[in-house]
Amino acid sequence: MKRVIKGRKRKVMPKGRSKKRIIKGPIKRKSKRIAKARIKGIKAQPVVQEFAEKGVPAEAQKNKVEQAKYYPRPSTYMPPREWEKEELPSHYGDNKVVVLVRDPYWLYAYWEITDERKSNVETETQASWSDLRKVLRVNDVTDIIFDGTNANKSFDIDPTSDANNWYIHVGEPNRSWCVDLGAVAPDGRFILIARSNVVTTPRDSASDVIDEEWMSLEEEFAKLYGLFGGFGVSSPQMVELRKKMKERLQMELASGAVSSFARPPLERGFWLVVNTELIVYGATEPSATVTVQGRSIKLNRDGTFSLRLALPAGEQVIPVKAISADKAEERTITPVVRKYIK
């Protein structure tokens, strides 16, 4: 239900909802649908501009553009939202970096560095903080106990200097990662500021590990793998299946699907509806009994009555009959109403 709830929030501003909670600014995503469209339409240009403005040398710029291609949105740096500034601290006085797994290919890191640590680093490197290159060193620590030197491999990312979080494209499922946050001294030394937790990217395809006790033929497994997705089993090649799995995961078959449920796009957008209703109202002695078209209706305390009826095309004969409490008197008035559409 949750996505739906979001949808409704857009329509109305319910009572009791703090305005502060509405996220302002360009990062506001009205729905996941929009978010998807943006991701699809990503372009590296805004990042290029950003780097260009900051006067990064051309060669470095090119590298950054290459790197930026992998980013799912123009820039990972988000200025703090207004209410975020009001309600939540912008930092907690920690020196730390935390890594989360987004999917088989991407990690997300957020970090914080205290001013004290920054000045320590300045002292250590004899350089000002703003001149230092800040680096996320992404270490592949699969199957090892990482001590800072024994990574299987590692690569560096230079986040923009004002960033405090970044999406990292590791591109490799089923590997373990540890991120070192640091600064690079003018002499090339890496000064470690904080080391992250270790995370493992999930597999994006079937495991190669086969359990002897529970062995199955490759072909059999491919059939099962294919069957779950209704992929059909005509091409039980794992490569093909992997592709199909990816397509299947793009489809939305869970809570999120509900918001657009049973609502394929309409043929055309413009529309007009016109309806008519008829109000039959009147008054009599409060003690009288009144019927409209033979059906009795309830009188208000003062003897008035009112009936509201949807009026379809055609003729309506509407006898309104009132009978006095002692049944001695009776009055009938019969309006006739004809509706037609020109």
């Binding site: 239900m1 949750k2 709830i5 409704r8 109305v12 319910p14 009572k15 009791g16 506001k28 978010a35 949105r73 990972t76 988000m78 907690y92 935390v98 989360l100 797994v101 987004r102 999917d103 997300y108 979080n165 999930p202 597999r203 079937a206 495991s207 590990v209 086969i210 359990d211 529970w214 062995m215 497994f221 059939k223 099962l224 793998y225 069957l227 779950f228 997705g229 995961l249 793009q250 939305e252 078959l253 869970a254 809570s255 999120g256 449920f261 049973a262 609502r263 394929p264 796009p265 309409l266 055309r268 529309w271 509806v273 209703e277 078209q293 009936l307 509201r308 009826l309 949807a310 309506q316």
Partner: protein, 465 residues
């Protein structure tokens, strides 16, 4: 002898919404709508099946937030107020549509349904419909499973293991308080699994949980039976994987049943369609138009010129769809029996609110499905995961893969540009809560209450969206 089993799993969840300070709080309406359109119709279906001697099995999660709302007397009384207003509206609609027989029959249908809902809610279950679900559980037809305290997406809380563990433990305790026994099964919010969370589940005394297909299929070592048999995690708890095919038939708006043109159109509601002055007493007190639940049209087609809903056509189509779903499961089970050489289990999980609220005919679909499976064939049987495990205790041990049933299958829905900022704060809050608890291990009285309140606030923050 049946060749395979089907487990229908409904996940019922609503975020916690309770605002005693406001007379009319919009978000509470979602809760009321879900009662009228989903929970009560499901109770009606289950009662009918029991009455007619149809042996059926269904598994349902009722999350702690939803259970707490259903048990809350303020919300119960407000629901009755809400329902009475709906009954009043339906009475006026019966009158208003006097000259339009195609709408009048629908107004009468709603009038009858709302009155029946009132009867079930007030007279039969004395305002607490958790009792109803508990009864079906005690009869052995329904297995209610637990879920995380506030529907927190656990894979992104891996760095705060204490919080993940607390989400689970609180969920399990809440279950016990409401249903009078320990839960066997657990619904991971959004099917969000990461290797390691199974250990917390196991420690909480749980026997099994559900996971999306690729969580099992990409597990290691390779699962011999795919998603068609449970596996054990190394911690010893069982995991059941979702079957994609049966999901698609119901979920997909394009290929799925609910998009059928004869079914009721969700997006045409008298709350939006009728003259403002007339409908005003039945919409939000601030005058904002909202869904009332009275909807007169069928989907009709890809057009905005909607035709009136015809309950007879919809019923026929529902029966056809239930038959088709059963036929496909039979074929699937036969096929699986040939390659697996063992009785398979097909897990078909859905959001409960899909049935009735979104897909109006959904509860009727389940009714037909259970009846057809019971009377019309012998290949397939419905089962709960607990029963299946009792019958098939020997299963492969694998480590499932991190996964969710969200868009793209992992964490992206909960970790992208609009929401990623929250994690630094969320993790910090968790860390501080842990510190507080460590500093005051023997807290009592006011201090204990303060700590509990802090914990509750933390859970509220974690309830995603």
């Amino acid at each position: 002898m049946e060749k395979g089993y089907l487990a229908i799993v409904l996940h019922s969840h609503l975020p916690y919404v309770r605002h005693p300070e406001y007379e009319d709080f919009l978000e509470e309406d979602w809760f009321y709508e879900a009662i009228t359109e989903t929970y009560i119709p499901l109770i009606s279906v289950f009662s009918g099946l029991v009455r007619d001697g149809v042996d059926f099995r269904i598994t349902m999660s009722i999350t702690p937030t939803l259970a707490s709302m259903l048990a809350d007397s303020l919300l119960q009384d407000r629901y009755i107020r809400h329902l009475d207003s709906l009954i009043d509206l339906s009475n006026r609609e019966v009158e208003r549509t006097r000259w339009q027989p195609e709408f009048n029959r629908l107004a009468l249908m709603y009038q009858a349904k709302f009155n029946e809902a009132r009867h079930i809610f007030v007279d039969r279950y004395h305002k607490n419909i958790l009792t109803a679900f508990k009864e079906f559980q005690d009869l052995g037809k329904l297995e209610i499973i637990a879920s995380a305290a506030t529907h927190g997406f656990l894979p992104l809380m891996e760095v705060c293991p204490k919080s993940a563990r607390a989400q689970i433990r609180v969920g399990v305790n809440n279950y016990e308080a409401h249903f009078g026994r320990r839960p066997r099964g657990f619904w991971l919010p959004e099917c969000g699994f990461y290797p390691g969370v199974d250990q917390h589940l196991k420690e909480a005394g749980l026997k099994y949980f559900f996971i999306d297909s690729h969580g099992i299929l990409h597990g290691s070592p390779r699962p011999k039976y795919g998603v068609y048999a449970p596996i054990y995690c190394k911690s010893g708890i069982a995991a059941f994987g979702r079957d994609w095919e049966s999901s698609k038939q119901v979920w997909s708006a394009v290929e799925g049943y609910p998009g059928d043109y004869n079914y009721r159109e969700f997006y045409r509601d008298v709350g939006f369609d009728l003259d403002y002055e007339y409908i005003k007493p039945y919409i939000h007190k601030d005058g904002i138009r909202i869904n009332t639940g009275i909807k007169y049209y069928r989907i009709t087609g890809r057009t905005s010129d909607k035709e009136p809903y015809n309950p007879d056509w919809a019923r026929e189509r529902t029966a056809e769809h239930a038959g088709n779903f059963m036929f496909n499961r039979e074929k699937q089970v036969e096929y699986l029996f040939d390659i697996l050489k063992r009785t398979s289990i097909t897990i078909a999980p859905y959001d409960a609110e899909l049935f009735g609220h979104w897909w109006y005919e959904g509860p009727m679909f389940l009714d037909y499905l259970f009846r057809k499976i019971y009377y019309d064939q012998k290949t397939l049987k419905v089962i709960t995961p607990s029963e299946y495990l009792e019958q098939n205790p020997r299963n492969q041990v694998i480590t499932p893969s991190l996964s969710s049933w969200g868009w793209k299958g992992y964490c992206e829905v909960w970790l992208e540009g609009s929401n990623d900022w929250i994690y630094r704060h969320l993790h910090k809050a968790s860390e501080r809560m842990t510190e507080l608890n460590n500093n005051f291990p023997n807290a009592d009285g006011l201090l204990k209450r303060a700590l509990n309140q802090a914990l509750r606030e933390l859970y509220k923050v974690k309830s995603h969206r």
